[in-house]
């Protein structure tokens, strides 16, 4: 695919808010600002350097005002948890086109403590209010569960397959001091946990936390003069399949099929060349379906792909090495953390931490899912 983006723009700073997990003394916008400051500081930059602003959840107006930034370029694409991954692609395009020079992506949610959050009104005359709400689908867990039931019936995917994903992810969380849950987990633990919305047990579901996250990008040329080892954006893709789960085209495959192909094609990279994958894990099934859509394995073979700890620490294909939304943090729109962790792995930030560092990591995919398997953003990142 012809393009003038791949390899020209680098991530130069990534950070969480000061604390993540249960943070009852921070509002949503404060979490955005803390993460922004931390990510800029890592690169040796300040808000004065920023001329591009990208955010979801709160508007670019609110973020710009709060941080004192007067942007030349802005993007408030808000399509759920994938938004911040999509912003990385948009920021790369804006920088490559010369429309801004330093792009700041901010995220922050008080998902657990509910400090300073807006509401999500769901009127009875909306599409969802008329055609879904009267039937009592728990949101969002029921939507993912309903989709999963189809994969199980069509391909023989089992609750044990799903549980293995939670277990492998917890293995990575046990190595991450910032992870909320770090105790070892067994497949039996997952299967014995309370059923929430069949086929999902409690431990098939992500956490609910408070957290902020931020990403700073600039041209690779400028990145060479900054404090961090640059991580280059090689490819990006995005798409939407549906908004309401009843309109999903195929319960076993979603918009990652489109976003993934776009990203891999732009990067000129094949899935089997990757060193790790950071895949949005709102639920165990989200990871399984996305792995198939991204081409990490074939349709229907997700169960085998994750079996026997293949994606766990020490496994052949590391997935969700921060402990994921299932065990590390999930404030509501988790996508930014797939980029943060990919960047740290590709910079070899964990090189003195043994198995926590994916050895010689050079290529990663970061993938965000938004809504109810609705939207997708994929980014291929490489160590410069």
């Amino acid at each position: 695919m012809a393009n003038n983006i791949a390899g020209k723009v680098a991530i130069v700073g990534v950070a969480e808010s000061d604390q993540i997990g249960i943070v009852p003394d921070r509002s949503v916008i404060q979490l955005h600002a803390e993460a922004a400051h931390n990510a800029l500081s890592e690169a040796g930059l300040t808000t004065r350097d920023v001329d591009g602003i990208f955010t979801a959840g709160v508007s670019p107006m609110e973020t710009a005002e709060y941080l004192g930034i007067v942007p030349k370029f802005m993007d408030g694409t808000a399509v759920g948890g994938s938004s911040f991954v999509i912003h990385v692609g948009h920021a790369a395009m804006a920088i490559a086109a010369g429309l801004c020079s330093v792009a700041l992506i901010t995220h922050g949610e008080s998902g657990r403590s509910r400090i300073g959050i807006g509401g999500f009104p769901q009127g009875a005359q909306t599409i969802r209010g008329q055609f879904e709400a009267p039937f009592g689908l728990p949101s969002p867990v029921g939507a993912y569960a309903m989709a999963c039931s189809r994969h199980m019936a069509q391909y023989g995917t089992t609750s044990e397959h799903l549980a293995q994903i939670a277990v492998s992810t917890r293995g990575w969380a046990s190595l991450n001091p910032k992870a909320m849950y770090r105790d070892p987990l067994t497949i039996e633990d997952v299967l014995k946990s309370r059923m929430i919305s069949w086929p999902f047990h409690l431990l098939d579901c992500c956490l609910v936390t408070d957290a902020g996250g931020a990403i700073v990008l600039t041209s690779l040329e400028r990145a060479r003069d900054l404090k961090t080892h640059p991580v280059v954006v090689l490819g990006r893709g995005e798409s939407i399949d549906h908004s309401n789960i009843s309109q999903m085209h195929d319960f076993t495959s979603g918009p990652a099929k489109v976003s993934g192909k776009l990203a891999f094609d732009m990067a000129g990279v094949r899935p089997d060349e990757l060193d790790l994958a950071m895949i949005y894990d709102s639920f165990t099934y989200t990871v399984l379906m996305t792995a198939e859509d991204l081409g990490l394995c074939k349709p229907g073979e997700g169960g085998a792909f994750f079996a026997k700890g293949r994606t766990a620490p020490g496994g052949v294909f590391p997935v969700n090495t921060n402990g994921g939304g299932l065990s590390y943090t999930h404030p509501g729109m988790y996508g930014v953390f797939t980029i943060i962790e990919s960047t740290r792995q590709l910079r070899h930030d964990y090189q003195d931490q043994g198995i926590r560092q994916v050895k010689d990591a050079k290529l990663a995919v970061a993938h965000g899912t938004g809504g109810v398997l609705s939207s997708a953003g994929t980014v291929i990142l490489g160590r410069a």
């Binding site: 209010g129 008329q130 709400a133 949101s139 867990v141 029921g142 309903m146 039931s149 019936a153 919305s197």
Partner: protein
């Protein structure tokens, strides 16, 4: 009926025909006069071909279970439904093509008894004097 506390749809001028047909226990959906596909939910434009040549047609009320989940009832987003738990939320694919969000009734909420692909038929539930819901039961 007066004390029905769960979310109810508020029909809009375009969707009123659908809700009236369900209330009459004779479900109608829009069919595209150009690509000949039935569509759901009701819209101003055909999602398959972009045409506005849409007309209301009766449907059979028969279909197959496309997917389902069983809500155990402790979820805050479905508090008004807690007394019903466990209950089945399902996506049904009508013989005419479209898929509808619905509840599966007339069967135990037991995943060993409910099978994706099973044949189902509409069961009209008159939940209030103004609104009926199209639910489905096994054939």
């Amino acid at each position: 009926m007066a004390d029905y506390t769960k979310p109810l749809p508020m029909p809009d001028p375009l969707t009123k025909t659908f809700w009236d047909s369900v209330k009459a226990h004779a479900m109608q959906l829009q069919k595209c006069g150009d690509c000949q596909k039935f569509i759901y939910y009701p819209r101003a434009v055909c999602p398959y071909c972009g045409s506005r040549n849409l007309a209301w047609k009766p449907v059979s009320g028969r279909g197959k279970l496309y997917g389902f989940t069983i809500n155990m009832g402790k979820h805050p987003s479905t508090a008004p439904f807690s007394a019903d738990a466990p209950y089945v939320i399902a996506l049904v694919e009508l013989d005419e093509g479209p898929r509808l969000m619905t509840n599966l009734v007339g069967i135990d909420p037991d995943p060993t008894k409910i099978k994706v692909g099973m044949d189902v038929v509409v069961h009209y539930d008159d939940v209030t004097e103004q609104i009926s819901l199209a639910k489905f039961k096994p054939v």
